[in-house]
């Protein structure tokens, strides 16, 4: 008799938890009057025009914002994967002076709250002339090419420690240098950790707001999250539908990643304690 309690409870919780997301999808297709009056999930008057009017609501179209976001996220992925991989190989597999100390420092930066660094980094980048320049993305991207995302370094170090040492030893005896071992042994075997890093890098950067808000001041340079906040300024009822439509579009890339890599994402936070 009690076998039905657990699945029923789970289904109920899933419905409650997912309700806001379903509501967003439905509301993105509702007319302005309906958004207030119709509390159901489905629109009575299917209004796809929310998407077209939201897309070109501001002087710069959302296409540009999506391209900017994709570029920032894409370059961040490349930077994180490459630079964290190099650092992890050194910290996880090579023997050199002070390695233990550098590893401890890396763990220390892992616990450093990122928001503390925003003010000083801003001042530094500004004095370098990187803020508000022709291409304002340098402050967003350069840190990721210098392995500052300690989470990913840690994740890859943990992964590489699982690769049998005998492989390195054998290669060394065959005369392979650490560079060749990196290229032919560690790099190919580290692919799962690289993919996990790439996916989380993309999702976090796509969702990131604080840094992009601070560094992007010109409308044409805006990324999607920064552009979405423009909707908050306009309080008119007619803006709600387009606002939902664009919010929904902005979540689709992350959702697709979720669908494609669900298992990997869940395993990823298991092995490393990464937060989504």
């Amino acid at each position: 008799m009690r076998t039905w309690i657990r699945p029923t409870a789970l289904v109920l919780i899933v419905v409650v938890v997912l309700y806001p997301l379903f509501w967003m999808v439905g509301t993105a297709f509702k007319s302005p009057e309906e958004i207030v009056s119709n509390i159901g999930l489905l629109p009575e008057h299917f209004t796809p025009s929310n998407f077209s009017s939201g897309w070109s609501k501001f002087d710069v179209g959302f296409g540009r914002f999506f391209l900017n976001s994709a570029m920032v996220a894409g370059l961040t992925v490349i930077g994180n994967v490459v630079s964290c991989l190099l650092a992890a190989y050194a910290l996880g597999r090579l023997r050199f002076r002070l390695r233990g100390m550098w590893f401890a420092v890396m763990i220390g930066t892992l616990l450093l709250p990122g928001h503390v660094l925003i003010i000083p980094q801003y001042i530094l980048f500004r004095s370098l002339g990187w803020v508000g320049g022709e291409w304002p993305y340098l402050p967003l991207l350069v840190p990721h090419f210098l392995a500052t995302e300690a989470f990913f370094v840690f994740l890859m170090v943990q992964f590489m420690r699982g690769i049998p040492r005998e492989l390195d030893e054998a290669a060394t005896i065959d005369g392979a240098s650490p560079y060749r071992i990196f290229q032919h042994v560690i790099l190919p075997l580290s692919r799962p950790a690289l993919v996990t890093t790439a996916i989380f890098s993309f999702i976090w950067t796509w969702n990131d707001f604080f840094r992009q808000l601070v560094y992007l001041s010109d409308l044409k340079d805006y990324t999607v999250p920064v552009a979405l906040t423009l909707f908050i300024d306009s309080t008119s009822e007619t803006a709600v539908g387009p606002m939902f439509a664009m919010s929904l579009l902005s979540l689709i890339p992350v959702f697709l990643f979720f669908v494609a890599f669900q298992r990997m994402l869940v395993e990823g936070i298991n092995t490393s304690g990464l937060k989504g």
């Binding site: 002076r97 840190p143 500052t148 939902f244 936070i269």
Partner: protein, 317 residues
């Protein structure tokens, strides 16, 4: 805190008497991007902001022209700026309520899911989805609209004959809607709890059943102690995370911390002082106070953890 360097497995094939091979050059070559980042992106800015926290600096001039003011910024913060203490109260309230509730939800659902049945992976994924999406501006916008005066939540209450409230624009409730948004993202700690639950040996429960212990006593005396390292891990991560809430408060208040400063999270206050008022000296001081506070809280958590976290074996969780 600093972990011991990893143990090297014994090198079997090394000839006796041959010196231990060092890889100093390749080691530092591979480490060089990280070292550069550590210096340029982390260490130097931190020291710079420590200096600037003792100055009056408006960011529009080069920082070499900042005016030294001694302890003025810190003094103003602790004695003359009510918004500082207010934002501390808001942030601590947020973390004290949202973090335990989020962890409780995560543990509760993890216990429900800790069985082998068809579709368990699908449930796990669906519960995890809000953690992936929830930090975004888009979801914050949806959340705020949902709890607005004419939003879906009030309409839903009306169906049951309950009169809602303007949750978002009422200073009494605005922070609570943000807490709910944080709790909604319980999927990430839930996944970690699930992994922890799988590690609890089944024999313990079997032995307890034989001895006549009921479900509740098994939970209290087996599950909770065995899971305490994972609970501790989640508690530390979520607390640090909770203190840094920014996006949802920014979206709800359009960057002001309103209504009536009720959502003025510490990081939002920091943002307003630094990037709206352009008072970078003061904002640097706020950032340093924040860093010291987070460090202090982490140390306190680790200290108290000694009393209730049980490590059952030397391997760790």
């Amino acid at each position: 805190m600093s972990p011991a360097p990893p143990k090297e497995p014994a090198v079997v094939r090394r000839a006796p008497g041959r010196p231990r091979r060092r890889e100093n050059l390749p080691g530092y070559l591979f480490l060089s991007p990280w070292l550069l980042g550590l210096a340029a992106i982390t260490a130097i800015p931190m020291l710079l902001s420590l200096y600037l926290s003792f100055t009056d600096y408006d960011v529009l001039t080069p920082f070499t022209e900042a005016t030294w003011v001694g302890w003025d910024n810190y003094q103003r913060m602790f004695t003359a700026d009510p918004s500082f203490w207010h934002s501390v109260r808001v942030t601590v309230t947020f973390a004290l309520i949202a973090v335990p509730l989020k962890l409780a939800a995560a543990l509760g659902v993890a216990l429900l899911l800790n069985r082998v049945f068809r579709g368990v992976g699908i449930f796990r994924g669906l519960f995890y989805l809000p953690s992936l999406l929830g930090g975004s501006v888009a979801v914050a916008i949806v959340w705020v609209s949902m709890f607005n005066r004419g939003g879906a939540f009030n309409s839903l209450l009306a169906v049951f004959g309950i009169e809602g409230a303007p949750w978002v624009s009422d200073p009494k409730y605005a922070l609570q809607t943000l807490m709910l948004l944080a709790i909604w993202q319980f999927g990430a700690p839930m996944v970690i709890f699930l992994a922890g639950l799988k590690q609890v040996p089944v024999e313990l429960y079997e032995a307890a059943s034989v001895d006549g212990a009921g479900k509740w006593r098994q939970f209290k005396h087996i599950t909770l102690p065995m899971l305490s390292p994972v609970i501790f891990f989640n508690l530390v991560l979520e607390t640090i995370h909770g203190f840094q809430g920014f996006t949802s408060a920014f979206v709800l208040s359009n960057g002001t911390g309103g209504p009536v400063d009720s959502t003025l999270m510490y990081t939002l206050n920091l943002y307003i002082n630094g990037f709206v008022q352009l008072d970078m000296g003061y904002a640097s001081a706020m950032a340093w106070v924040f860093l010291v506070a987070i460090g202090f809280i982490t140390v306190v958590l680790f200290r108290t953890g000694r009393f209730w976290v049980h490590y059952s074996d030397s391997e760790g969780g």
